[in-house]
């Protein structure tokens, strides 16, 4: 899984043109480990380490990948204590892979931007990305551990006729949501949600509104004209990305030619820059209208990160 984001997240030139925030490094506390991790992110190649990431305003209200990893590493420690109370003294929840600091909430949001990736893989993921996506990430747990850890029976119910799970194990009451639920509430100060709906709903609204914005429609039209001059007919770049003709195991020469033209036309029209700036502006407005609800969510997120630091520091 080396190099995946090197290609996925690149978009260097367009990102620089957008002139936004620099890469935020991994949190320092992330070196603390929980569980038994086997997947480690490799060091960044210098050219890509210098790349910039666009950051949308809503990301302030959503856990970043690195923050999610930090929360999980702390939660895993709390899980282990809770499981130990139930007699599973050697239990360790599976570890999560270290997040790439460039793996933002908006990674690949506006499609392929990197000419090297387009020339090699078209719109398809690189072999490294593919290998990661096709890996089974977690081992199964024995039924008794699954029950205590999650509060759910390991037996699944395909239909909506749910099977009831025991509420206690060996006479000891299982917390709501199992040890995971208890650990999560410990970190958040009572909430079961790490990714509340509202920020993600705003993420959706801004995406749809931006696509209807005259500035974005104009730049789509300019891109479309640029593509037409190169012999390709699409109304917008994601239509090219999702072209059913490209639904093959690997990229065809036609797909590579299309993706290559796509990247060139994105750069010549500043499509991603315009799209990103327009969406960021729309998000600011949506966020402003929901401050009363969003502010406590940000507080919960920040509190969870502080609590995670405390747990990881061993207190």
């Amino acid at each position: 899984m080396n190099s995946m984001h090197r290609h996925r997240l690149a978009g260097i030139s367009a990102a620089l043109a957008a002139g936004v925030l620099a890469v935020t490094g991994c949190s320092a506390g992330d070196s603390a480990t929980g569980g038994t991790g086997t997947r480690v992110a490799p060091a960044l190649e210098p050219a890509y380490a210098a790349a910039k990431i666009r950051t949308l305003p809503i990301e302030e209200y959503v856990l970043s990948s690195a923050e999610y990893v930090k929360i999980m590493k702390a939660r895993v420690r709390l899980d282990a204590r809770c499981m130990s109370d139930f007699g599973f003294t050697a239990f360790a929840s599976p570890d999560v892979p270290q997040a790439d600091p460039r793996d933002s909430f908006t990674a690949d949001r506006y499609g392929v931007e990197d000419a090297v990736q387009a020339a090699q893989y078209g719109y398809h993921p690189s072999p490294a990305v593919r290998a990661f996506a096709e890996a089974a990430p977690e081992p199964s747990l024995p039924a008794d551990q699954e029950l205590v850890l999650t509060g759910l029976a390991a037996e699944r119910s395909g239909t909506t006729a749910l099977r009831a799970a025991p509420r206690s194990f060996k006479g000891k009451a299982i917390p709501a949501g199992g040890c995971v639920g208890q650990s999560t509430r410990h970190l958040t100060g009572g909430s079961d949600e790490l990714y509340p709906d509202l920020p993600q709903d705003i993420n959706a609204q801004s995406y749809f509104k931006a696509k209807e914005d005259p500035r974005v429609r104009d730049v789509f039209a300019a891109w479309s004209t640029c593509m037409k001059d190169k012999g390709f007919t699409y109304s917008d770049p994601m239509q090219a990305n999702d072209d059913p003709r490209f639904a093959l195991p690997t990229a065809s020469p036609a797909e590579i030619a299309t993706a290559t033209a796509d990247v060139a036309c994105k750069i010549s029209t500043d499509l991603v820059g315009v799209w990103f700036r327009t969406e960021a502006e729309i998000q600011e407005s949506l966020i402003g209208a929901k401050q009363t609800k969003l502010a406590p969510m940000k507080e919960t997120k920040q509190a969870a990160l502080v609590n995670a630091s405390t747990v990881l520091a061993g207190n």
Partner: protein, 136 residues
Amino acid sequence: MRLIRSSVIGAAVVGLTVAVTPAPASAAPTARCYPGMACVYYNSNQAGAVAAMGHVDGMPSWDFGYVFDPGTGNGAGLIVKNNAASADSRYITQAVRVHYNSYYKGPYDVVAAQSKRNLSVTYNNNASWNYHPNPS
């Protein structure tokens, strides 16, 4: 990499006595999804037919090119792509992201470990899924 989890499911009942109603946390996943996997549903609130987000050989996650499980409710047998309304995850620590476009592109919804939610940007617009976070 072939999924081997399904073998555990049958054996999972052993040792458990089904008792009173469960008390899941409010955001907890449903018992409809496979342990150690995430799922999408044809309807909101984890109703309707279910399909796993777990990898099987020959079923790349970049296009949701498979169908909802037969016999699991409204929407069973329909293609999953652009037909999912809600999701949940029974992964222990791994989250998943559901993408609006193919090949893990476009905006995405996060489904955290041990959670459930109705899809937002990808509501009936789920084109691909991947793990979250992504390592490099």
